[in-house]
């Protein structure tokens, strides 16, 4: 008899938990952003990053993250929480990243992720913009005698990351050249590099920025080179869950503000002094004109905080990508006014 009773209590209490969870789970389509509310309640932005890609998202020995992908999350934290440091980073492999975002473990995925149609449409994700225009390339050993992708021959073995666009592009590329190849796909980038370094594969293929960044981790970086060809378009940018339009806008415009700030010459050091600028667009960006923040339920200084605490795109690029020697030349990631393709909608 006692056992029956105990069982009953267990069942009832378990059902109560379930009902409670059920109520919490609902509530789609409201005008307010659930993600924003949760973020403000928690006091930090939940940000998914790579497991270590210098220049993009990389942790130092003390566990401090930096890079241009990290700065997207920092910008959002500055905008919605007032402090760019209030970010919780979750390192994710290429394979895990979308599941983590969909499951709500993170609210922004900023991890050198390529914007493609099927990702955007298929899996409940939304891409908000591009913070780095990239393309896939190949790395080979300098002494290999291979100077161009046209020197590749059938039988070549290629190491890469699993669950990436790289895996798909590689197949298209080798097929179009009629070259049979051996793909070796690892879950973690460190293992790819180690296997390539040990001679398991003849070439290492991924985003060119990734190649440049990973090369800095190799035992003898100077023994390797990146081939000149680019075999794909890899627009890398932050991703959010589908279904929270306000949060999506916040992340998109936090990124846009950094790029537009560079366009108007607003930097982390001069931003607050530009409040009385002649130029109305500059005034809007530093929050002394208009009410841009209210559209997302934020105050008017949100964009000023981004520029002051994180910097404009040019400053970020210089700090993480150029001065570290990863890609000194901005190439397509230069402003449209300076011959690049960085062009964002105006914040007004």
């Amino acid at each position: 008899m006692f056992n029956t009773f105990k069982n009953l209590i267990l069942i009832v209490s378990a059902s109560l938990v379930l009902i409670a969870c059920g109520q919490q789970g609902g509530g789609a389509g409201s005008k307010k952003s659930k993600t924003l509310q949760n973020t403000q309640k928690a006091g930090f932005v939940k940000c998914g990053v790579s497991q270590g890609l210098p220049g993009f998202s990389n942790a130092d020995t003390a566990g401090n993250w930096s890079g241009i992908d990290v700065d997207v999350c920092r910008a959002v934290a500055a905008a919605v929480l007032g402090d760019a440091d209030k970010v919780k980073y979750t390192p994710l492999s290429a394979k895990e990243r979308f599941t983590a975002l969909i499951a709500g473990e993170i609210d922004i995925l900023s991890r050198n992720t390529t914007w493609t149609l099927s990702r955007d449409a298929d899996i409940g994700l939304t891409f908000v913009g591009v913070n780095f225009y990239d393309g896939q390339g190949f790395m080979v050993r300098k002494n290999s005698g291979i100077n161009s992708v046209n020197d590749f021959q059938s039988g070549i073995s290629a190491c890469t990351n699993t669950g990436t666009t790289t895996e798909l592009n590689m197949r298209d590329f080798f097929n179009s050249k009629n070259i049979s190849y051996e793909p070796i796909a690892f879950e973690k980038a460190d293992e790819v590099v180690a296997a390539y370094d040990a001679g398991r594969c003849d070439t290492y293929t991924t985003d060119k920025s990734g190649l440049a960044a990973q090369r800095t981790k190799m035992t003898a970086p100077d023994d390797h080179k990146v081939l000149p060809e680019t075999i794909s378009k890899e627009p890398l940018g932050p991703v959010v869950r589908q279904g929270d339009a306000v949060w999506e806008d916040i992340v998109r415009w936090s990124l846009n503000v950094m790029i537009e700030a560079e366009e108007y010459g607003i930097t982390s050091s001069n931003a607050s002094s530009l409040k009385d600028s002649e130029n109305p667009q500059i005034k809007r960006l530093v929050g002394s004109e208009g009410e841009l923040g209210s559209a997302f339920g934020l105050d008017n200084e949100w964009s000023l905080r981004i520029i002051e605490q994180v910097g404009n795109y040019g400053e970020i690029y210089e700090k993480h990508i150029a001065s570290t020697g990863i890609m000194p030349d901005r190439g397509p990631n230069e402003l449209w006014t300076k011959g690049g393709i960085l062009y964002v909608a105006p914040a007004r």
């Binding site: 378990a14 059920g22 789970g25 409940g124 050993r141 070549i156 669950g163 796909a185 869950r241």
Partner: protein, 391 residues
């Protein structure tokens, strides 16, 4: 699973209530999760369905036992992954059993060095996390193995390199006839051993069934070559230069280093547990049994084969079944070193490319469940066949 425990005891109402409630609770729980998943997926615009399985996979896999390339379907990619999982599990189980039995017997050796060595082996390999061992074997292998142009050469037909172990490829004509001859040999062996047993039990006559069996196993397939029209040719790997410093072998079959390292790590690790089972099993057979057997004049080999092993096996098999299951499940660590098993290929790449998390994860879980159930029912069957039958 014992079905009797599930049947409701109608006479005893007190027991009936909790059973019905538990059942109700489980049904509710499952429907709740299904419903919630459905709602959440609808909200996020995710459709549920298995139609994607017939779509083109569009990614390649480096190592496959069957014909595959990216133009085949996701279902085919699943099959490639499954077969690779089976391959490494079977190899792992065989090697782990061999090492395990040897080490287990070694631990009981009267030779101090042998016993100590076996003990140290068990302690080391049992206590280091498997993933670490896997990385150790993989990167140790990659560091130790030579580049193709300096390959370790075995009689000009087989080469060991950092890119794999290249062995001749068998090219068969009339392969099915060969297979039939092997099956015929096995059937013949079963008959011979049945007959031998009868002769021994009824007339006390000893027929060397083991040697007859071996002879049959070779003779019948040999005949299939002589008169059955079976032919076997070998394709021998040859070194090819692909650029100034890049060489590789073409032709033949490549046993990739990922497979070697994974099989090595799995079997070295699992062998420690099997060794302990074997030791416990042998110790579990009473001393009196051996002494009694010796007193009726059985030789040492006969004592081991006829008295100790049959009894020890009954102690060894159930926990060893568990180890076989563990090994199979542990093979999913493959993804860490790029061995394309079912987790890497299907629950990894295919999941990423399709976004079908729920479908793919349930298929993968179902597959592992099925694998585990098959292994344990096979082992149960084997266990019953060695169990002492009361007469």
């Amino acid at each position: 699973m014992n079905l009797k425990t599930f049947s409701l005891d109608l006479k005893n109402k007190k027991r009936l209530i909790p059973q019905v409630l538990t059942l109700l609770f489980i049904v509710l729980l499952i429907s709740y999760f299904t419903f919630n998943a459905q709602v959440n997926m609808d909200n996020r615009g995710i459709a549920f369905g298995f139609g994607f399985l017939t779509q083109e996979a569009s990614f390649d896999i480096g190592f496959s036992l069957i014909d595959y390339d990216g133009s085949r379907s996701y279902a085919r990619a699943f099959l490639v992954g499954l077969l690779n999982t089976l391959l490494v599990s079977v190899i792992g189980i065989i090697i782990a059993t061999l090492i395990g039995v040897t080490v287990g017997i070694g631990r009981l050796s009267s030779n101090y060095l042998v016993a100590k060595f076996a003990e140290v082996y068990v302690e080391i390999f049992r206590n280091i996390p498997l993933l670490l061992q896997l990385f150790f074997w993989y990167f140790a292998a990659l560091r130790a193995l030579p580049l193709p142009e300096q390959a370790m050469n075995f009689n000009d037909i087989s080469y060991l390199t950092v890119k794999g172990w290249y062995v001749p490829k068998f090219i068969w004509t009339n392969f099915s006839i060969f297979i039939y001859s092997v099956i015929a040999a096995f059937i013949a062996i079963i008959f011979v051993s049945k007959h031998a047993k009868k002769q021994r039990e009824e007339f006390g006559k000893h027929i060397p069934s083991f040697y007859i069996g071996i002879t049959l196993l070779f003779a019948l397939p040999f005949l299939s070559f002589l008169i059955g029209g079976v032919e076997l040719e070998f394709e021998i790997p040859v070194l090819k230069q692909m650029s100034a410093t890049i060489f590789n072998f073409r032709g033949g079959v490549s046993i990739i280093p990922e497979l070697m390292a994974l099989a090595m790590a799995l079997s070295m690790y699992t062998a420690t547990f099997i060794a302990e089972n074997v030791r416990a099993g042998i110790l579990g057979v009473g001393k009196g049994q051996k002494e009694a057997a010796a007193s009726i004049g059985l030789t040492k080999a006969q004592i081991l084969k006829l008295v100790v092993l049959p009894q020890a096996l009954r102690i060894i098999i159930p926990p060893t079944t568990n180890q076989y299951l563990n090994l199979t499940k542990n093979s999913s660590l493959a993804a860490a070193i790029a061995y394309p098993d079912i987790v890497l290929v299907f629950a990894g790449t295919a999941l990423m490319q399709t976004g079908r998390a729920i479908e793919i994860v349930s298929i993968t879980m179902g597959t592992y469940l099925l694998l585990s159930l098959s292994i344990s029912s096979f082992m149960n069957w084997y266990n019953q066949s060695v169990a002492i039958k009361e007469k």
